[in-house]
Symmetry: C2
Subunit: 249 residues, 2 copies
């Protein structure tokens, strides 16, 4: 499986992805799911992918080819990030449709696009296998693809539009850690990209292997702190009264 998070903040973007792929439980590999497009200097575009690996690799290839062959519609010619999302949706649908028509098998994939085009705001988009897409909002500043549920509560608690890029990155690592604990098909290396608004050429990229000291530190410290928090919860038997309304039959 896969777990990727895109976060859109006032200060810029934070993108986080795991690197485990599997085709059946006995065919596990490591592939980066975070891809930065080589673009003209007026833009920074990063794509994360979940789903069928052949489909996402095919999409990446097609995007590159459209640039190299100078097609009028490619990632460098579009003026809005939403147009890039629309274009990615079309490439994705074509890729999926080809194999569906040939074999009946639907090699679904979902993408997150994060980036900025000069003169506009940075933003994130989630592109569905059907080719349509959604973006974030002030109330929901993050988007997830893949195994999203285990790691969602911690994002809901700490991610607001005015969070710092560093806080959002730390939060996404905690979210990733909770997910890896609960789903063995999500795994390291964990990649984090921090994109400060208007810094087209200066996104910072971190790659954390399983035994990375910082990742371990975050994991241990979070576990310790949660343990302390749990031990300090108000006691049930002191503060609540049992009643006799249990339904019996």
């Amino acid at each position: 499986m896969t777990y990727c998070i895109g976060i859109s903040l006032d200060d810029g973007l934070v993108l986080t992805s795991d690197s485990r792929t599997n085709a059946g439980i006995d065919h596990v590999s490591t592939y980066s799911k975070m891809h930065r497009c080589v673009t003209t200097p007026d833009r920074c575009l990063v794509i994360m992918s979940a789903g069928n690996l052949a489909t996402t690799q095919g999409v990446i290839q097609q995007i590159r080819r459209d640039v190299l062959e100078g097609l009028p519609r490619n990632i460098n010619t579009l003026s809005y990030l939403a147009d890039v999302a629309e274009y990615l949706g079309d490439v994705l649908v074509n890729r999926i449709r080809k194999h569906t028509e040939q074999t009946g098998f639907v090699p679904d994939a979902t993408l997150i696009l994060g980036g900025q085009i000069q003169g506009r705001n940075p933003n994130i988009y989630m592109i569905y296998p059907q080719g349509n897409y959604i973006t974030s909002s002030a109330d929901t500043p993050y988007l997830q693809i893949g195994e999203s549920k285990y790691g969602k509560p911690v994002l809901d608690r700490f991610i607001t539009r005015d969070a710092s890029l560093e806080d959002a990155a730390i939060c996404s690592l905690i979210s990733m850690d909770s997910t890896m604990k609960s789903n063995a098909s999500v795994g390291p290396p964990i990649e984090v990209m921090i994109y400060p608004r208007d810094q087209f050429n200066a996104p910072k990229h971190y790659k954390f292997e399983a035994e990375d000291p910082y990742l371990l530190e975050i994991r241990h410290e979070w576990a310790n702190q949660l343990n302390r928090a749990f031990r300090s919860m108000p006691r049930l038997e002191v503060h609540a009264k049992p009643n006799s309304t249990l339904h019996t039959f």
Copy 2:
């Protein structure tokens, strides 16, 4: 939807359930999902249910009727908790099959059975719509039905076989709170039953309405403590170094 947790500890059992049901997003009701069977004094049996409400009500009715009509195989005549789980599975499958054969619609439901029969250990069972069932183990002392993912990480952190009944109850309330935050179809009242081993007639039952002071206290205190924990995490920019291995294409 639904969220129920059954926890089996050295000291006894803790069962926790929400009370929201919905048939479509515009048909939301409140039903208890925790049912204590009226039994002979040598046993305590509690059933929690997730899934189709007609099916679970039908199962409960059938169980009661089998006792009233004195059928040789009923919840009072069986000697092992596993036999009760097997019996519940049969009742459940019959109930589902009837409607499937009549209409093609499969009104699935899943049950958790918790309890004890004198002379044996207390235990929990999860009964699938197919009628088969699993129990807990030393490594996995809890079972969940319904919307299980959001609330799983906190259970994984704190629930071990030797946890106290009260700690397990508090942990299940935190797990329930995280789930309610993320899934609007899980909602109060929240019921918690604490069953101390060998106390057949003395399970303690708590029912927390949405504005229950203790439930609010747990929620606020947990949020505060998590906030404090998050603020104390080791900083990324101090402890980790960016690299330049981001995949570009």
